[in-house]
Structure formats: structure tokens, C-alpha cells
Symmetry: C2
């Protein structure tokens, strides 16, 4: 088998999922907090749209770049999202959008497009564990940009980041709001990474799947909102790749619909990789997701109520952790929907998570959590 | 950008689709015969299952190997299909099955698993054009096993095929029933390819997505039906990869659900590539497809009526072609749902197809066809 198969392992998130399913089958009650799978029902208009469309009885191949109406709807949603904030932003047009089989597929084809074997992508820590494997498939290597919990995961200086750049570096990747830390990258931080990318003529890839999952008053700052002087802006436009997904925003992880936003020339190349990996995305699912974005375009109450739900859950979780685990360090996340908990006395997070899942037993109950 | 992006081009099938959509928008009537997209409605039970499931309002991540119930249902369907024919066959079990995002994704991850850059896959001509690009993504190279229309696309001798094998060869790929020729590979031909694969310790990959699309009285002979003496059989089991899909069988091309059947160790490796390319397959679509396979397990009338429809269409098409294009050569296909037409006086098939689509105009009507 090919070399790349040696670099791939089940992610710890998915490994926990497997063990936890087995324990549940065996009769243990497991509260599954180990995967970003909302228990919240999907946005109702999605179900309605799917249900009426599927009755027509035709499920067709889609253009491999995605359905035009969805690309148009998603670009309108993005523009409206930024306009509402009153900030300047790059205007997204239909031809800036590629529809993918979720954000994972969006990342997989981005890495395929950028990396020959041995090429490198810098990635700000902490990061979503499967990034490594998604990159390994193309033969690329993930080089972490180190940060520390103590400093709130603040970025190192530009000089320190630039030291990591070699002739093999093809891009810088970051995820904001961040899975797992909940950090929202500030305007200054996103601008700093953007300037480094322009200077070294490499891509900057922003994973913004948690854009709508804001837990405080600070909205996420998008790569599309970076302001630069005119000359830099021209270069910048050609260097950006924004990853998005309908999964978390509308609680439709099982729809498998994601997006890439980039320049039309970049979209063109990426779309060929989309075709040569999955042929096309489900036309039925695109129809449902388009109805969802159309809905929130006029009516923000869905996201407002979603945010309220997650904020209440976060407050309860933090109170509970502080009450019962007073020695743990629990920084309050600004976005996404994860809680990172630090135990000074735990040596190996993976061993600890496995212990909690398999060995810990309180009236035949336990929780599944994931090492960060 | 990575080298592989230079090897990818829109397939001529998809290029024709784009031009044809544009002409339709401009008001021309185009009969689109250029893509394997049934106009037949999907199997009704699929719509019913989707419609009831989506109303529950939960769309979740699926295990990346696929939902257990679908893997089990699909393996039962396969076993029953062969049992009904009364032939010996390899018994497929749940752990022999991986669910993929259509057959294209199944092939993409197969090539990813087998090929390092420069590795080769032999492929029997004529073949589905996107095979080349699907292989190019992994860095692999497609080496055709030449056949000729005159001999009914009969396989060359084992010796001639073996001459094509080098230290870089990782597998032999064939598609039966064949797109585009409609050829059904005989028991002897499939056995011959299998013995070559065993002898050279390489994989044999059978694309069987048109299994149910049989246009005559000859059922398709599956790679899973090969009979060998015991020692060979043991080696053979470890070397087979069967590709299948729900798309054509149930007219659900937009569901994006396909399958790989192989040994559990091979499935394990391939499933990691599935995870690191799309994370998982839509749980909703898997539910619908499982209902479809469950249905045909007890009731074959769906496939019988589908075959009848395609046979009637084929007969009409052949009569029409012979009436109006008496100088064309039109071999009758045994399977799939394509008609290959040979014009002795056409020099370049692509140019001819483009001419018919864009320039030809009979009362503002034309047909879209694809170069074979």
C-alpha cells in the first residue's frame, strides 16, 4: 500500500466515539461530550425543504463546483453577515464559492491543491486533530505555530512565526473561533498572519466553521474582513482560502455540505480536485442547506436563540466544573462549543480520557471526553 | 500549486454538461444524452424513508466506515443477489463493506491507498474517462490494456497483459458492465485477470456499478464469483477490491452513496482515507439507500421493470440510429445504459461532439453526446 496510509490513524475523537458506542451497547450510560455533534435539532426549514424536494423523486448529479443557486445564496449570506456589522469586507460573489462535502473535504482538497509530498503548512496551536491526517493524504506536513494556554493562546511575534517558514511552506492555517480552545482570533492577529502570508507569497487558510457559534459579545473576525493598503490588498485577495460549513450553524452535521471561498482562479483548480475526489455533492442536501441560508438572511432569530442555548449551557458547565473540580483550570471560551479543562495532576490526557470512559463508573454512568 | 493540479482537466462528459446547460439557458433545446444521469424517478421507498427520517430533525455524523445497518443490508443484498443465481461466490459480511461518497470517492480512496507518485494501475479499454484524473490525484498513472471495437473489446492474451506489468504496477482495474461500451466481462475474462493479479501479487479492482443494468439475458459476472483452487483463493481474497454504488441501481445519483467490498484489513486502511477526505457520509442518505436495498431484497420487480424500460429504450434507439444513420456502426451493448456509435468518417470524436452540440441546429434543437 501507498506510503501515506502509514501516516493515517483514527483521530482520538473518533476512537473515543467507537469505544463509547460499544460501552453504550453493553449497557453503560455514557454522556458523549467527545465530538462536535449538536444534540440540537436541525433548523426546521431544512427538514421542510428536503421533505418536499425528495417527493419529486429526482436526485441528480450536481455541477462539481456546486449548484449555482446555493453558491449565490451562500455568498449573499456572507456579504449580509459582514454588512450587518458595518465593517469593510471583501465582497463574495457566486464565482468565489465552491460547495464541498463538509469542511473536512474542503480542507482535504485545499491541501491536495497546495502540497506536493514534503511541502509544509504552518498551523496555529491548538488545532483540530484531524488536520494532520487531512494534510498527510496529500503528502504534506503540518508544522505547528506554538502558543500557550497561559498566555490565552496568543500568537508569537511575526519574527518567530517567520522563522518557521521554509521554501517548502505553502500556507498558514488557523481556525477561529477555535476548536478546541474557543479562542476568537482578533483583527490584529488575523492581519498579522495575513501580512506574513503576503510577504512570503504563501496562502492563508482560515477555517471559519464556528463563525456563528459566538459565546460572548465579541463577533468572530473573518479573514474576509482584513483591511490592508491597496497594493497589499491585491496580493492578499489571491492568497486567501476560507473554509466554512453548514454543519454546526444549522445542526446538520449529517448533511455533509461545506464551502470554500477564494478567487475564481483558485476555485477553478480546487473544483477539479472536488470532482476527482467525490464527483459532486448531493443535490438534495444542497437544496436543504440553501433554504437554511436563505432563511437566516432575513431572520436572525434562529442564530440568536442558538447562541442563547449554547451560552446557558456554557454557564452551567463552568459552574458545575468549578463546584466539583475546584482544582481544575477552566478558561471561558469565546466561541465554538467546547470547554477545555486543564488538570495540573494529569500527565497524559489520552490515558486520562480512556480511564474516565472505560474504568470510571458512577452508578454505571460516565462521560466521554477528548484529549485536547 | 501542487504538481497534481496540472494533471487534472474537466472530463469531456462534464465539459459537455456545462456547454449544454449554457445553451439551454440561451433557449436552445438540448437532448442531454451526454451523462449517465437517469431521467427515471428514484425508487419510491427512498423518498419515503428520507422524508420520514428528516422530520425527526437530527442529522448526525456517521461512523467514518459507514452506518452498521447499511453495511449489513448491503452485504445481505450482495449475497442474496449471487445466491439467486445459484453460483458459488465469496460471502460478504458487514466488516467487508465501506460506505463511500459515491463510486468516484470509492475509486479515489482506493487509488490513494494503493499508489505512491509514479505507481501504475492497468485499466482495460475502453474506460470511464475520469479514472485518469481520479488516479492522478494520488500521483498514480493509468496504463491502458488495449482492446479493439472490431474484436468486441476482447481481452488480449495473458502474456500481452503481463508485458505491461512493471515493479510500479499496483493493480488491474476493469469496469463490467462497461461504461461506455456496454460489454459484460465473461467468467473466463474475469478469471484471467484475477490469475494475473494473484501471480504478480497486485490488486484487482472491479467497478461493478452497473451490475443491475443488464440489457440482455446475460447477468453480469462479478469478481466475487470467481472460482479458484484453494491455494489461489486464499491469495485472491486479499487482493480484491469491488466498487459499487446506489446511484444507477436506484436512480439516486444525487444521494452520493457508494461502496467498497474488500477484506477487513483493506477496508480498515481505506476507511482512514475515507475519514481523511470527507469525514463521513450523510447519515440521512445512508438511511434512504438502506431502505432501497432492503426493499429489493424481497421484491425484484423494481429491477425487472427498470431493465424492461432500458431494454425498450435501447431497442428504439438502435432502430432510430439504423434508420437515420445507416452508415454508422452500432454494436448492441449487453449492459449499462450507453450506446457507442462509430462513424467511419469522423476524425476527431471530441470535435464532432462539440460541433453537434454548438453548431448543429434543427429547429433550434440538438443532442449532447460524449466522445468515447
Amino acid at each position: 500500500m501507498a506510503q501515506r496510509t502509514g501516516d493515517l490513524h483514527p483521530s482520538s475523537i473518533r476512537r473515543m466515539m467507537g469505544i463509547s458506542k460499544r460501552l453504550i451497547m453493553e449497557g453503560k450510560t455514557v454522556y458523549e461530550l467527545n465530538i462536535g455533534q449538536p444534540d440540537i435539532p436541525c433548523i426546521p426549514i431544512f427538514s421542510e425543504a428536503i421533505s418536499s424536494k425528495v417527493r419529486e423523486g429526482h436526485l441528480n448529479y450536481s455541477p462539481y463546483i456546486g449548484e449555482t443557486y446555493l453558491r449565490e445564496t451562500f455568498s449573499r449570506y456572507l456579504n449580509r453577515y459582514f454588512d450587518r456589522q458595518g465593517t469593510s469586507h471583501l465582497v463574495t460573489d457566486t464565482n468565489n464559492v465552491l460547495v464541498t462535502c463538509g469542511a473536512s473535504h474542503a480542507l482535504a482538497i485545499t491541501f491536495m491543491a497546495l502540497c506536493d509530498p514534503g511541502d509544509e503548512i504552518l498551523c496555529v496551536e491548538p488545532f483540530f486533530e484531524p488536520y494532520k491526517g487531512l494534510l498527510a493524504v496529500s503528502g504534506g506536513i503540518l508544522k505547528p505555530i506554538p502558543t500557550s494556554a497561559e498566555s490565552g493562546f496568543a500568537l508569537p511575534s511575526s519574527e518567530e512565526i517567520e522563522k518557521l517558514i521554509t521554501s517548502k511552506t505553502k500556507g498558514i492555517l488557523y481556525n477561529s473561533p477555535n476548536n478546541p480552545s474557543g479562542k476568537i482570533f482578533t483583527k490584529e492577529e488575523v492581519t498579522k498572519l495575513s501580512k506574513i502570508a503576503i510577504k512570503h507569497n504563501i496562502f492563508i487558510i482560515a477555517d471559519e466553521v464556528y463563525r456563528e457559534m459566538v459565546l460572548g459579545n465579541q463577533e468572530a473576525f473573518s479573514l474576509l474582513q482584513v483591511e490592508l493598503e491597496k497594493g497589499e490588498m491585491e496580493k492578499f485577495k489571491h492568497r486567501i482560502i476560507v473554509i466554512d460549513s453548514a454543519s454546526k450553524a444549522f445542526s446538520v452535521c449529517g448533511a455533509r455540505v461545506g464551502f470554500i471561498v477564494a478567487r475564481p482562479e483558485v476555485i477553478e483548480k480546487l473544483s477539479l480536485l472536488a470532482f476527482h475526489s467525490v464527483a459532486s455533492i448531493s443535490d438534495l442536501m444542497q437544496f436543504g442547506v440553501s433554504a437554511a441560508y436563505d432563511h437566516v438572511f432575513t431572520d436572525r432569530t434562529y442564530f440568536e436563540s442558538l447562541r442563547k442555548t449554547y451560552r446557558e449551557r456554557l454557564d452551567s458547565a463552568i459552574i458545575a466544573v468549578k463546584d466539583f473540580l475546584s482544582w481544575a483550570v477552566v478558561p471561558k471560551p469565546n466561541g465554538a462549543f467546547y470547554l477545555m479543562i486543564q488538570f495540573a495532576d494529569v500527565e497524559d490526557a489520552s490515558d486520562f480520557c480512556l480511564f474516565i470512559l472505560e474504568k470510571f463508573n458512577l452508578g454505571n454512568e460516565t462521560v466521554a471526553v477528548t484529549p485536547a
